[in-house]
């Protein structure tokens, strides 16, 4: 491929830094304001409630990441209900379920919600261990489902390669590892020895694989000097921290998340971990924002699951975000995380599809009509434009990550809105038609199509 410089390649990826909002999309609906369809509902609409099952972590260490999902969902439901409900008639009624009950119990609970409570839509779910279990069951039950997270590539690569009833809002998981690697290569291009600490389940392995393949392309010659695989839900990271330090890496990459991450960084401080090496995380700032204390190291790459942080797009640049953050804060007295944004946008995407379907066929649309309009749908949400890919029902928006900084304006540490890194998702994800690959399609796509950079 000849000489490829890192700078040229990063430019070709469309990486932007700072307060830019990538322009894209033509006519799309948005999450706020009365939509045009609403004024002219066609046909008679039944007034029975529209039942939605929302599953997320309400207990355990994952709740600090998961509970904001429920709050985002409720905020949207309350707003829609205040306008009379879906198509002005059908009020949203939410049934909640605790994801912490375990995968098998979650499968049972999804069945119960559909067959016993008669839910119309299933949404939520955080863990990548759960969507591959629940997705096929939703298809069996013919249950319209929009997963907020649980964003493993495995779901649409292998578990349900031809989805009909199931959709997913947040970015595909492989984007986490890739954007973390891109941000690392841009910020610390001299790193060579890399240590890893990841939760020992599908998400951690996915983050590890994609970080590794991307960093090998962007910073050739790096090597992995330590791999630590704590079990999800672990609160004691001391052995992993001391082993990582002993390996004398230039960089620690980690996808530990939720309450687990809070425990890890607090323990890391005691060992001066962050003074001894650079630190890149895929999802550290994915928790409810107030959970990251001011003692958290500044200037590290604090990932947000490549999705959304509440202060970006920055105030004044993108009104939908200003409005969303204010409403969310007024309602819950805290700032939203990417789950809140995902769950909130989910309901507005549903609303938009139902309204469009009504406009086309009149009356209350059946699931087939809603599905047809969800496929290929676009909506402007707080985070930016969201597109639902028609072939794999996967939501796509620009991938983002950022750098931690303390601000006197907030009692917790934030991501610096002036330094946010944004990449158009199409440049870091396998495109439609790319053959299914191992471990993921995006992995083989990067492996085969990205050049290895040969100079800075």
């Amino acid at each position: 491929m000849g000489e490829v410089s890192r700078r040229d390649f990063l430019n070709s990826l469309g990486v932007t830094v700072g307060a830019a909002v990538a322009a894209s999309a033509g006519a799309v609906g948005s999450v706020v304001g009365p939509s045009k369809a609403e004024a002219q509902v066609r046909g008679t609409i039944p007034d029975k409630p529209y039942k939605i099952g929302h599953m997320t972590f309400f207990t355990g260490a994952a709740a600090v990441l998961g509970e904001p999902s429920y709050k985002g969902h409720i905020l949207a439901a309350e707003e829609i209900n205040a306008q009379g409900g879906l198509l002005g008639k059908r009020k949203i009624e939410t049934f909640k379920a605790d994801e912490a009950a375990g995968t098998d119990a979650n499968v049972k609970e999804m069945r119960r919600m559909k067959l016993s409570e008669g839910i119309d839509l299933f949404t939520g779910v955080i863990s990548s261990g759960n969507t591959p279990a629940l997705g096929p069951v939703a298809e069996e039950l013919k249950l319209l489902t929009i997963f907020v997270d649980g964003c493993t590539d495995f779901l649409f690569d292998k578990a349900v390669p031809n989805p009909h009833y199931i959709f997913r809002i947040t970015n595909m998981q492989s984007a986490d590892g890739v954007i973390a690697a891109v941000a690392t290569a841009m910020t610390w291009p001299k790193v060579s020895k890399i240590a890893h600490i990841h939760p020992d389940y599908s998400y951690g392995r996915n983050a590890f694989d994609h970080f590794k393949i991307a960093i090998e392309k962007l910073v050739p010659g790096t090597k992995v000097v330590y791999e630590g695989w704590p079990k999800l839900g672990t609160t004691d990271f001391t052995s992993h921290i001391t082993n990582a330090i002993a390996a004398k890496p230039d960089l620690l990459a980690s996808s530990v998340w939720g309450g687990d991450y809070i425990a890890m960084y607090k323990q890391g401080l005691r060992y001066d971990l962050f003074k001894k090496m650079k630190f890149t995380s895929m999802i550290a700032f994915g928790v409810a924002p107030h959970a990251i204390g001011k003692d958290h190291p500044e200037g590290v790459i604090g990932g947000i699951h490549s999705n959304y942080y509440w202060n970006y797009p920055p105030a004044g640049k993108w009104p939908l975000n200003d409005i969303f953050v204010k409403k969310y804060f007024d309602r819950w007295k805290e700032y939203p995380n990417f789950q809140s944004e995902g769950a909130y946008t989910t309901l507005y995407l549903l609303k938009q599809s139902i309204e469009k379907a009504n406009k086309l066929i009149g009356g209350w649309p059946d699931d087939e009509a809603i599905i047809t309009l969800l496929e290929g749908a676009s909506i402007a949400g707080p985070a930016g434009y969201l597109h639902i890919r028609a072939d794999i029902h996967q939501g796509y928006k620009d991938a983002v990550t950022g750098f931690s900084v303390n601000s006197p304006d907030y009692p917790f540490q934030i991501l610096d809105p002036k330094r946010m890194i944004t990449i158009p998702i199409r440049n870091i994800t396998a495109p439609p038609g790319w053959p299914k690959g191992e471990p993921t399609s995006t992995y083989t796509w990067i492996e085969k199509t990205w050049p290895k950079v040969t100079k800075a």
């Binding site: 995968t103 098998d104 119990a105 049972k108 119960r112 016993s116 096929p136 069996e140 039950l141």
Partner: protein, 327 residues
């Protein structure tokens, strides 16, 4: 284990209406309730096996998730690597896998009793859990392994048939028949000389040895039978659940099996059956209606141990006796 043996005729008289009810149920209750009952019956098979050790032999195993999980993973491996779809073959495979592990673990465990037995059983089962967890390229790790609908007696699911309808009818009857056979066989076992010998060991190990019972051998036999039952339950559970994950190999699931048995009453034959069915409803209800489901189940356990040590069946039996005496 009532002190006065119940004559078999009376047993049939009591159980016949229940059996009839179980057979007509799919025609009167919605499919969802039927699948719930299938879960309950499957757990009941595991609890029966478990109680052969606890109630009849006096050994408290905190490691029965191992045999349930081996039954389940045995089936999942056969589906994944051998592409077998016949449920009968899968059950045989699941039982063989569970029994092989029970033969090994039992050999080590029955050398001990009381807490040492319990902890050793727990520790060994945790080894299996960590293997299923860590060897993700074989076992799927926490994602588990999916098991599609198998064929029953050579007849698969009709194309386009609703999976829930299949589970709520054909699969339910399949489970029910196996359950009834399992109960009958267990009834024969505990009332046989072998069963009596186990009870003698439970009541007084030294005396049992003096009358010529080969204590360790009998315990080992009981352990194997227990493993077979629990493995059978695991094999039946996978198609119903659709997938198997390391959760069912974890010691907390062993705890649930103990919970079934204590809830129903481990001093009675029917206790574990009732306990398993009730627990399944209780947990589903708790998870569905409150995020404090763990606290709720914990509360039930505390009340049970403090106020109703005889469990549901034991307490019901006591109430009936009191009522009779009063009359």
């Amino acid at each position: 284990m009532s002190p006065i043996p119940v004559p078999p005729k009376r047993v049939l008289l009591y159980t016949a209406p229940i059996i009839v009810l179980l057979f007509v149920l799919p025609f009167v209750v919605p499919p969802y309730e039927v699948t719930q009952l299938s879960y309950g019956l499957i757990f009941a098979i595991a609890a029966l096996g478990f109680n052969l050790l606890l109630g009849y032999t006096g050994l408290l195993s905190f490691g029965h998730s191992a045999y349930f999980g081996m039954g389940a993973y045995g089936v999942a491996f056969m589906v994944k690597y051998l592409k077998i779809t016949s449920m009968e073959a899968l059950i045989v495979g699941g039982i063989v896998a569970a029994t092989a592990v029970a033969a090994l673990f039992g050999f080590l465990c029955v050398r001990y009793t009381r807490i040492f037995f319990s902890i050793l059983a727990l520790a060994l089962s945790q080894v299996l859990w960590s293997l299923a967890f860590k060897f993700f390229w074989v076992t799927g790790g926490t994602d588990g392994l999916r098991v599609p609908t198998p064929s029953l007696l050579g007849v698969g699911m009709a194309p386009g048939q609703d999976k829930m309808a299949f589970l709520a009818h054909r699969y339910y009857y399949y489970v029910l028949v196996i359950f009834l056979v399992g109960v009958a066989v267990m009834w024969v076992i505990v009332h046989s000389p072998f069963g009596k010998a186990l009870q003698a060991i439970r009541d007084n190990e030294t005396r049992a040895e003096f009358v010529g019972v080969q204590v360790r051998r009998y315990r080992y036999m009981a352990f194997l039978v227990s493993g077979v039952y629990t493995g059978l339950a695991g094999a039946l559970w996978v198609p119903l659940n659709g997938l198997t994950t390391p959760d069912i190999l974890h010691w907390t699931f062993s705890g649930e099996i103990v919970f079934f048995t204590v809830l129903g009453g481990f001093q009675t034959f029917a206790g574990p059956i009732v306990g398993a069915v009730v627990f399944n409803y209780l947990k589903t209800f708790a998870v569905g209606y409150t995020v404090y489901w763990q606290m709720f189940l914990g509360g039930v356990l505390v009340v049970l141990v403090l106020a109703l040590p005889g469990g549901i069946v034991g307490t019901a039996g006591r109430l009936v006796d009191r009522f009779r005496k009063a009359a």
